[in-house]
Symmetry: C2
Subunit: 195 residues, 2 copies
Amino acid sequence: MISPQRRRADAERSRTAVLDAAVQLLGERPDAGMAAIATAAGVTRQTVYAHFSSRDDLLTAVVDRMTEKVAEAMDAASADEGPAPDALLRLLDAAWGAAETYPALVRLGARPAPPEEDRARHRPIADRIARVLQRGRDGGEFDPEPALSWQVAAVIALSHATGEEIRDGRMSATDATAALHSGLLRLLTPDPGKP
Amino acid sequence: MISPQRRRADAERSRTAVLDAAVQLLGERPDAGMAAIATAAGVTRQTVYAHFSSRDDLLTAVVDRMTEKVAEAMDAASADEGPAPDALLRLLDAAWGAAETYPALVRLGARPAPPEEDRARHRPIADRIARVLQRGRDGGEFDPEPALSWQVAAVIALSHATGEEIRDGRMSATDATAALHSGLLRLLTPDPGKP
DNA sequence: GACAACTTTGACAAGGTGTAAGAGTTGATT
DNA sequence: AATCAACTCTTACACCTTGTCAAAGTTGTC
């Protein structure tokens, strides 16, 4: 990470192998141990420790990788164009599509951790949402009254909640996304009553 | 639990001592071990196992107790009277007041568990919210369009998100609750446009 | 081909969960 | 008040996971 030139290609290969295995395994079974991950990666447990100093460190790396993937997918949604509400929905759909591959990892993101650190980790995603929200606020499409940070948190929370409704089979995907979309718009749209 | 008459008062005393200590300790440090809990309860580790067959069993009991307390507080909010929106806000404030004593336990409620089981555990709370929501839908105060279960999930998700905003110091309690209140009403109120 | 980086093997300490048996206490029952 | 049953305590053990260490083996790189 410090000097890519001084790392052997071998090492990087092992590192990604471990990371891939961790994503896969923890996606199925969040309580998988280091030994299981190492075996799944075709590597010894000590080799895992050679790349990630602790289990927590590995989990962090896994979450970071997922965050990165989701952020990339969001960037491909061209959220800077078109009406802000449409852009927001596109953004969320893109994020959802990228995140749903390993549902357990989404839950894993909400693991016990220092709040600031946890916040910093989700920031790439929150920032992209905040950007569209801000654009909508400036354009009069979203209500500028509530704090931006609250609106971001609300959007994320509603998205997660909707995702769980689908995952647990209480709603069909179409019904749930429809409810989410209209709900979000209603939540963010300013009252026409007052100026 | 099966036959209260055949249980000695002693046993019940120990049980509640352990439960109290667990609530206290896990409220500060969610990863506290059985030994620490036992010591805090003034009891041996084995005595803990005499009442709770596993650590998971104990966690379940702790969450259940919190749920019970919150449910009681909600019942004291007389949510069956007055306009449904006001009643909902009263209900949530009551729940919040009862739950905020040990913030870590709220997070602990969202621990990895079988979805159905987890759902069943939160049902006392969800049911009370659903009741007010249903009343509001019947009375035309809330939009009957989205699925009731989604509205319940949305209300809970927004409440939690708002709670975190406060807890992490990103918003003042007054600002956050104001945002939550107006946000909820906006989310649940039907469009005046269509009949 | 030689050096350095990387991996492997094997072993270990520490800490947590869960189980077991036997002796000691305390509550309930008569 | 005595007795039995229930409850608790002590001690001990087996097991698993995390994290660390050292030495030998292997593979990339210059």
